[in-house]
Amino acid sequence: MLADYGYVGLLALVAIAFPVVTLLASKILSYIGVRPQRPSAVKSSTYECGMDTVGEAWVQFNFRYYYYALLFVVFDIETVFLYPWAVYFRKLELFGFIEMLIFILILVVGYLYAWKKQVLEWK
């Protein structure tokens, strides 16, 4: 098992090396003249259908996105509990079933509250 994790680490190294090497190769191509590299003010201006940009791009954003982020955190942590439960479900039997039913029902109450409060509505 540990050897397998070692292989995952090895793959991670290669996976990082691959984009880095291709980006470097592309860079080297520009030095030997195969690839053009002539930036100009117009070329590197923000692409907005030919218009000059007005104001900053890094603006404040709708708060709605954070509702979804909060809901995501709640349900994602729930799934962390669900996975080990699912593996051992057949050994836990009825006790595990009812226990998880109660756990999910508590979350569902919050979910229904969010639904009623129209948090899930995109406006």
Binding site: Y7, V8, S30, T46, Y47, T53, W58, V59, Y83, I104
Partner: protein, 388 residues
């Protein structure tokens, strides 16, 4: 003889293993074996990705009654390679005022998880790069890292369109993550393992028949994660040009593009493994069965992509939170109940589960359409007043 044919891949792997460990010190053989497998994995992934790109372009052209790329090579087969050469030799632009380092880092960070997912996918009995006993959990954990790269790319571009695309991407991927993760739990409960190898072996009958609801939810949510057309709001050309990668060109764009198709390949393999029986197919050796299934799943995604129009933002978010999430929770308890009543989870349950899934989907979609119509008829704010 037949055994040799079906077990060709593990036999070659074992022979290589014995050969290397025969004359090299242990650690060197371990590393060398790892690198050989990585090279094989990388080459096959990249080739399949190129095949997918060709298939997608030709396939969509056929769906739209046009020819598609047919100039480069026979039937345009060399088109992806020509594209790769073109992207490699294309000028690389970092927009003025953009964050240079983050702009580069985003392309790397999108690509790395797309490749790492393949570590635990089984290709034949015993042929898996790293047989982790937490396979699915690993896939889900690694798969959600890509969102960060997408957001970094959108943010670093200093472009309003890419920032909007990135915000939409995060909202969409985060929302569909939840039903996707929940839908796999039914499979895990039946297979009693998180290792993909064990899950394939547990499928006497493909889980698509025993877990049709789980398959539907996983497929819908995974294609939303892939940002393919019915749900590609984050790169909606007609609204925000190309979303988070507007400002990308050259090799960095190629990395985004490769990562997108590598993810599509990963999802095709995961769907085949979890629900279609992986490398299992009667009378067909594993190394032919799995590619057949992968291309079938990808063909289905292609079909959906060229058939359905793009959703609206509120429909998209509503589908995740009000449509898929409740049925995903329901699916867990239906599976749990069935496992309690019928201990062994017999195969005839497929006859119960398929109509049940159809019924649940039908009832839920009825309720859901009424909801949408009700909001559509009530006074909606004008589109201009709506936020991104």
């Amino acid at each position: 003889m037949w055994d040799t044919i079906t077990n060709l891949l593990p036999l070659v792997g074992a022979a290589l293993h014995d050969f290397l460990y025969g004359f090299l010190p242990g650690w060197l053989a371990y590393l060398l074996l790892g690198f050989i497998f990585i090279v094989i994995l990388l080459v096959s992934i990249l080739n399949t990705v190129l095949a997918f790109i060709w298939l997608e372009r030709r396939g969509i052209s056929r769906f739209q009654v046009r020819l598609g790329p047919d100039r480069v090579g026979p039937m345009g087969l060399l088109q992806p390679i020509a594209d790769a050469v073109k992207l490699m030799t294309k000028e690389d632009i970092v927009p003025a005022g953009g964050d240079r380092a983050v702009h580069y880092l985003a392309a790397v960070l999108v690509f790395v998880p797309a490749l790492l997912v393949f570590a635990v996918l089984p290709f034949a009995p015993g042929v898996v790069f790293a047989d982790l006993n937490i396979g699915i959990l690993y896939i889900i954990a690694i798969g959600s890292v890509g969102v960060i790269g997408v957001f970094m790319g959108g943010w670093a571009s200093n472009n309003k369109y890419s920032l909007m695309g990135a915000m939409r991407a995060v909202a969409q991927m985060v929302s569909y993550e939840v039903p996707m993760v929940l839908s796999v739990i039914g499979v895990v409960m039946v297979a009693q393992s998180l290792s993909l190898e064990h899950i394939v072996q547990a499928q006497e009958l493909p889980f698509i028949l025993l877990q049709p609801l789980g398959f539907f939810i996983y497929f819908a949510a995974a294609s939303a994660e892939l940002n393919r057309t019915p749900m590609d709001l984050l790169e909606a050309e007609s609204e925000i040009i190309a979303g988070y990668h507007v400002e990308y060109s050259g090799m960095k764009f190629a990395l985004f593009f490769l990562a997108e198709y590598a993810n599509a390949l990963a999802v095709s393999i995961i769907v085949s493994t979890l629900f279609l029986g992986g490398w299992k197919l009667p009378l067909v050796p594993p190394y032919i069965a799995l590619p057949l299934k992968i291309f079938a799943v990808f063909g289905l995604m292609l079909w959906i992509r060229s058939t359905l129009p793009r959703l609206r933002v509120d429909q998209l978010m509503g589908f995740a939170w009000k449509g898929l999430l409740p049925i995903a929770l329901l699916n867990i308890f239906i599976t749990g109940g069935e496992l309690l009543i019928f201990k062994g989870y017999p195969s005839w349950l497929a006859l119960v589960n398929i109509p049940l899934a159809a019924l649940i989907l039908f009832i839920w979609s009825r309720l859901f359409t009424i909801k949408i119509r009700a909001t559509a008829t009530s006074a909606r704010p004008a589109p201009s007043a709506r936020n991104v």
